[in-house]
């Protein structure tokens, strides 16, 4: 082990090995740049270790059990028991397979991996403190830097994370036993996804949300099937209530909320999960040393090449701003690497899709009808309810619909909103159509396999054209 300071040099220094950082590093390696990736914790970042992947694993496992346990209508009688330890072990296995894969892919693409915490130490220099006592630190000279340090959960005053009573999503995804009851503060996508997981585990779940709606940012009719399903699962959703404090009680804790009008309510529970948003990690990087400054929200402003105010410093992923989604970060990572290599790449995509992995799922891409109007289009809108889809009926999941928004004059697709089975997958086709400048007629003319859920995308396009076959045209 090297102790003390050593100095190395690199073309590209990437700080943080989440989706933004590892993609930047791998692509830079593929483009024959000398690249060094520094990570202080685990390869794959929040997404693979404490976000996308563990949450989706638990959603699947609890979903499999719940579905089989509620399929009497299909003639299936089961009373599945979930062994929390076994489920968590499986989830951990999935995570380590993927993080191990990321590490291998980095190496195979010639990325130098450095473990430790990096901070800037000059315009072209960073210092990496290796973990643990006496592990020393090293100094790295770089031509280009890519900041990919991600985000951390926002704390609400009075609700400091302790991993016992007050949980972050990371803590919740690593619980060893099923809590009897849980108050989830925040009805955004992370809160709602986890509400479903714990409700299916048998936890008594209450979601409190300051705003007047759950899943804010998603249209009411997209959120509704999710909220309805959640309530069927026994989840209590309290809107317009802000968490104001909590205290230990004899046998647990009690969370107090307050409405705008000052009305108080309190909820007894075993634990509370705070999921009110995430903030970029830019305060621990000594950014002054390199010469950039984050905006008020802590984000680093970037241009369409993923470049910060400095020619040689790039920022990708959650630090570079909304939407804080893994695939947006990956795209930025790729573009940053290509731009550094001198390629004419840019962040010139039309739309970033997003998915919520609740039951049913939500998938969106591009503009809503209202956004299209605001952008000056005269939107043509088509819809297909899943209850008219043969495939949906054969899966027993018929809640929801596919909606397609297009420009009525040219027919160009502008957006799609899907709530229902496999919405996260179905949105891909709509995204491709939007990127390619496809028209309603193009989607309608494409033969879709029968019986599939993707036929609903086709039908929604036909509906927008006024001649759907399997649903009445409005």
């Amino acid at each position: 082990m090297v102790v003390g300071d050593i100095a190395t040099g690199t073309d590209v220094l990437v700080i943080g090995a989440g989706p933004g950082g590892y993609v930047a590093a791998i692509r830079a390696g593929q483009l024959d740049l000398d690249v060094t990736l520094v990570e202080k914790e685990s390869y794959g970042g929040t997404c693979l270790n404490h976000g996308c992947i563990p949450s989706k694993a638990l959603i699947t496992a609890t979903g499999v059990a719940h579905e089989a346990g509620n399929a009497e209508g299909m003639g299936i009688h089961a009373d599945p028991a979930i062994d929390m330890g076994g489920m968590m072990e499986w989830k951990d296995g999935v995570v380590s397979q993927l993080t191990g894969g990321v590490e291998k892919l980095c190496k195979a693409n010639g990325v130098n991996l450095v473990e430790g915490r990096a901070e800037f130490d000059g315009e072209n220099r960073a210092r990496v403190a290796h973990g643990g006592d006496g592990q020393g630190s090293e100094s790295i000279e770089f031509e280009h830097a890519v900041v990919a340090t991600g985000s951390r959960p926002i704390e609400i005053p009075g609700f400091e994370f302790d991993g016992e009573r007050i949980l972050s999503s990371r803590d919740a995804l690593a619980l060893e036993s099923v809590p009897d009851s849980l108050v989830i503060i925040g009805a955004g996508y992370i809160g709602m996804e986890l509400a479903g997981v714990f409700a299916k585990l048998g936890t008594d779940v209450t979601v409190v949300e300051m705003l007047e709606e759950a899943l804010t940012g998603y249209a009411d009719d997209l959120a509704k099937p999710v909220v309805d399903n959640m309530e069927d699962l026994g989840v209590e959703i309290r809107l317009g209530e802000a968490a104001s404090g909590w205290e230990e009680t004899g046998d647990g804790m009690s969370v107090t909320t307050e409405t705008e009008d000052g009305e108080e309510a309190s909820y007894a529970c075993e634990k509370a999960l705070v999921a009110v948003g995430r903030q970029p990690v830019t305060d621990t990087l000594n950014l002054e040393a390199v010469g950039i400054e984050p905006d008020e929200g802590g984000f680093l402003a970037t241009d369409d090449r993923a470049r910060t105010d400095l020619e040689h410093v790039f920022a990708v992923g959650d630090v570079a701003g909304e939407p804080m989604l893994a695939h947006k970060g990956m795209k930025e990572g790729q573009v940053a690497a290509e731009v550094i290599a001198g390629e004419p790449s840019a962040l010139d995509y039309q739309a970033v899709p997003a998915a919520v992995f609740t039951e049913p799922e939500i998938g969106t891409v591009g503009m809503t009808e209202t956004e299209a109007e605001e952008a000056g289009f005269e939107p043509a809108v088509g819809q297909m309810p899943f209850r008219a889809s043969g495939r949906a009926l054969t899966t027993g999941h018929t809640d929801g619909f596919v909606r397609i928004v297009a420009d009525s004059e040219s027919g160009f697709l502008l957006g799609g909103q899907i709530v229902g089975p496999e919405a996260s997958e179905l949105i891909a086709e709509v995204g491709l159509a939007i990127e390619l400048g496809a028209t309603l007629e193009d989607v309608a003319a494409t033969i879709h396999t029968h019986p599939t859920l993707s036929e609903a995308v086709h039908e929604a396009a036909e509906n927008a054209l006024g001649h759907a076959i399997h649903t009445l045209n409005r």
Partner: protein, 57 residues
């Protein structure tokens, strides 16, 4: 080039452009494409239709 000759049977154009070609009576396989990688566009078909109109065919 070789690929164009060997794959001459295939015209790459989105459905809306293929429909337009039929509407305007243009044989899309004979239309040179100006889109990405030689994809036939709406404009190419309209241009070809004009040409045919002018020569009276």
């Amino acid at each position: 080039s070789e690929a164009v000759e060997t794959s001459a049977g295939r015209t790459f154009a989105p459905p809306n452009v293929r429909r337009l070609a039929r509407e305007l009576g243009v044989d899309i396989a004979s239309v040179p494409g100006s889109g990405p990688s030689g994809r036939v566009t709406e404009g190419d078909v309209r241009e070809a239709a004009k040409g045919e109109g002018e020569t009276g065919t």
